[in-house]
């Protein structure tokens, strides 16, 4: 088995140099890590599992990668090899990302982006890598299903001043402030996405479409007390029936508060802010508007 492992590792190396990632991964996955004959230490097993998962990920093969990352997750708790642990975390985040578990992926990318050390083992962690992880965290959060959890992660990212330097910041700001996103902004954001994040869903829309429609719907629910599906469809750029279907799903999943009057084809938005608190918020808006008028008058010398 020893010789077989060495040959497999050599062959895998050759496949890797030729960028035949899956072949390299298959070659390595043929090594029997659980055989009773050889005593293999956990770190060696962990490094192989992570390496195989990483290779499958190079070919966007999340299914096989996940098999090995799951094996690795039993070994990583006992590992003290920080470089290997970091690689495991990166693989795990990428697998979650590819399996469209965007919120979990975002949290892991964000955790990776917060690494303080600049050298782990023989690996140098440069600012670009951290910025990439941060940007990936923002992208995944924006793609995640709109709702309270996503809002919490958005708030964390928005308050992290490193994000303000990211190219993606303008869209993060609009999403966090629950403003409606226009088509040009969505298209610009789409260019930054990876292939799997543009994949088509069963209903023939993309992950991004769904995320953006849900986001805009949630934003509309903050703006309007109620709205007809005709107008809502126009606002979202989709058919009224589709707007109704998405709205009803979000209400059922408790990601948006409201009720639908199907006879009138109108949706009535609700929010659990008490009337008296809403009153105070309206007063804040009023006072700010008054303050702005006074400032403008002062500027005009009136």
């Amino acid at each position: 088995e020893e010789q077989v492992s060495i040959i497999r590792e050599k062959l895998a190396e050759l496949f890797e140099t030729e960028q035949q990632w899956s072949k390299a991964a298959q070659m390595l996955s043929g090594i029997d890590l659980d055989s009773g004959i050889r005593m293999l230490d956990d770190t060696y097993k962990l490094s192989k599992c992570v390496q195989i998962a990483r290779l499958y990920l190079e070919d966007d093969d999340a299914v096989n990668a996940e098999i090995f990352i799951k094996k690795a997750s039993f070994l990583v708790s006992g590992s003290h090899d920080e470089a290997l642990n970091l690689e495991y975390k990166v693989c795990y985040a990428r697998i979650l990302d590819m399996k469209r578990k965007f919120l979990e992926a975002a949290l892991r990318y964000y955790e990776i982006s917060q690494i303080e050390k600049r050298q782990i083992g023989d690996k140098w962690i440069d600012e670009d890598a951290l910025q990439q992880a941060l940007s990936a965290a923002v992208t995944c959060t924006i793609l995640a299903a709109a709702g309270p959890q996503r809002s919490r992660v958005l708030a964390t990212l928005y308050k992290d001043e490193r994000c303000s330097k990211l190219k993606i910041y303008p869209i993060l700001q609009k999403v966090y402030l629950e403003r409606i996103l226009r088509k040009p902004e969505i298209d610009a954001f789409a260019e930054e996405l990876k292939p799997h994040q543009k994949a088509l869903l069963p209903d023939n829309s993309t992950v991004l479409d769904r995320a953006m429609i849900e986001h805009n719907l949630l934003s509309a629910s903050k703006l309007y007390t109620n709205i007809s599906f005709e107008e809502l469809g126009t606002l979202l750029g989709i058919a009224p029936e589709k707007a109704e279907k998405i709205a009803s799903r979000m209400i059922c999943e408790d990601r948006m508060r409201g009720s639908i009057d199907q006879v009138e084809a109108v949706i009535h938005f609700e929010d659990d802010i008490e009337e008296l608190q809403q009153w105070d918020q309206q007063i804040v808006g009023l006072c700010q508007a008054l303050n702005d008028v006074l400032d403008s008058m002062a500027r005009k010398g009136l």
Binding site: L276, I283, Q288
Partner: protein, 312 residues
């Protein structure tokens, strides 16, 4: 001129430290000056703890019989009232913080500690008295500050108290009555047993020219917040707690009155006086709560007239 207080004269402070005037007079320190920065940080930290007590340290210096608090910082400690010597959890942090301060040229030493009493007023409990006595033995000059973030919201001003303990066994002269405050029934015992072991200092505040400039810039935030806040809304739980505490006190007073009614002519005048003072306190508590509520209602009515009575 107003910023001169921010200058730290190391020689003078060292000399005061050597003289130790406080060692000869248990009542030596009588006044406290707190900087706007330290006050804001302590109030914000106390409010962030919600109903959990939090604690922190204050940095500053002394000037005659006045303790001057320049800055404050939170300690990674919670639940101070339920733990003896809570700050033990933070010794390492305190040492690191003090050292780092010196490195960056902040010369003020730790001058005291603060902690919060959410909803039950500013005084020293038994644990607080012990902690402060210990500090006054080994870390003089040292001040204890207590903040009640809940009552701060309700009263619309910062509920804060600054205290110094007397040495063990010292009999203080009769105290001038400090401002009345409601003590919850479940804390009255703790309050009563120790209230003679410490005294309150007069608190004043100061701010730098920069603070004044910044606060002026934030002026519109201030009046907008004043007009758009509803003390009645924000403090419901606290008020409900206050009323239930009042009810318990009434029941207790009533049951005692009931006993004494049996042999009312036998009740010594002293006892009668005591009951009246107890009832008087309860009456005072109830009118205090009600006044705060009526104030809250007045602001709601004014807001209603201001913002809801104009129609297109």
């Amino acid at each position: 001129e107003s910023d001169s207080i921010y200058y730290y004269d190391e020689v003078t402070q060292k000399k005061i430290q050597q003289d130790k005037p406080w060692a000869r007079d248990p009542h030596y320190f009588k006044k406290v000056k707190i900087s706007a920065l330290a006050l804001l940080k302590m109030v914000v930290h106390s409010r962030s703890g919600g109903t959990i007590e939090v604690m922190g340290l204050m940095q500053g210096k002394t000037d005659g019989d006045t303790i001057i608090v320049m800055d404050a910082f939170a300690l990674p400690v919670e639940g101070t009232e339920t733990r003896v010597n809570a700050q033990a959890d933070a010794y390492e942090y305190m040492v690191d913080y003090a050292q780092t301060n010196k490195q960056v040229g902040r010369l003020e030493n730790v001058i005291g500690w603060y902690h919060s009493h959410p909803g039950y007023g500013c005084w020293l409990s038994g644990i607080d008295v012990n902690t402060q006595m210990l500090n006054q033995q080994f870390q003089e000059p040292f001040l204890a500050v207590v903040i009640d973030p809940t009552r701060t919201v309700s009263a619309g001003k910062v509920e804060i108290g600054a205290f110094r303990t007397y040495p063990q066994g010292y009999k203080p002269p009769d105290e001038p009555v400090s401002e009345y405050q409601t003590i919850p029934l479940n804390k009255i015992e703790d309050f009563g047993v120790h209230c003679k072991h410490y005294y309150a200092l007069d608190i004043t505040y100061f701010k730098s020219s920069l603070d004044s400039h910044l606060l002026d810039l934030l002026w519109n935030k201030y009046w907008v917040n004043t007009l758009s806040s509803s003390p009645l809304l924000g403090n419901r739980d606290y008020v409900a707690g206050q009323i239930s505490d009042l009810a318990e006190k009434l029941e207790q007073a009533e049951s005692q009155l009931a006993h004494s009614r049996v042999g009312s002519f036998l009740v010594p005048p002293q006892r009668k006086k005591e009951e009246e003072s107890q009832l008087a306190k309860i009456t005072k508590d109830s009118s205090k709560i009600t006044v705060e509520q009526v104030h809250g209602l007045m602001s709601q009515v004014i807001k209603d007239i201001l913002f809801n009575s104009v129609h297109q």
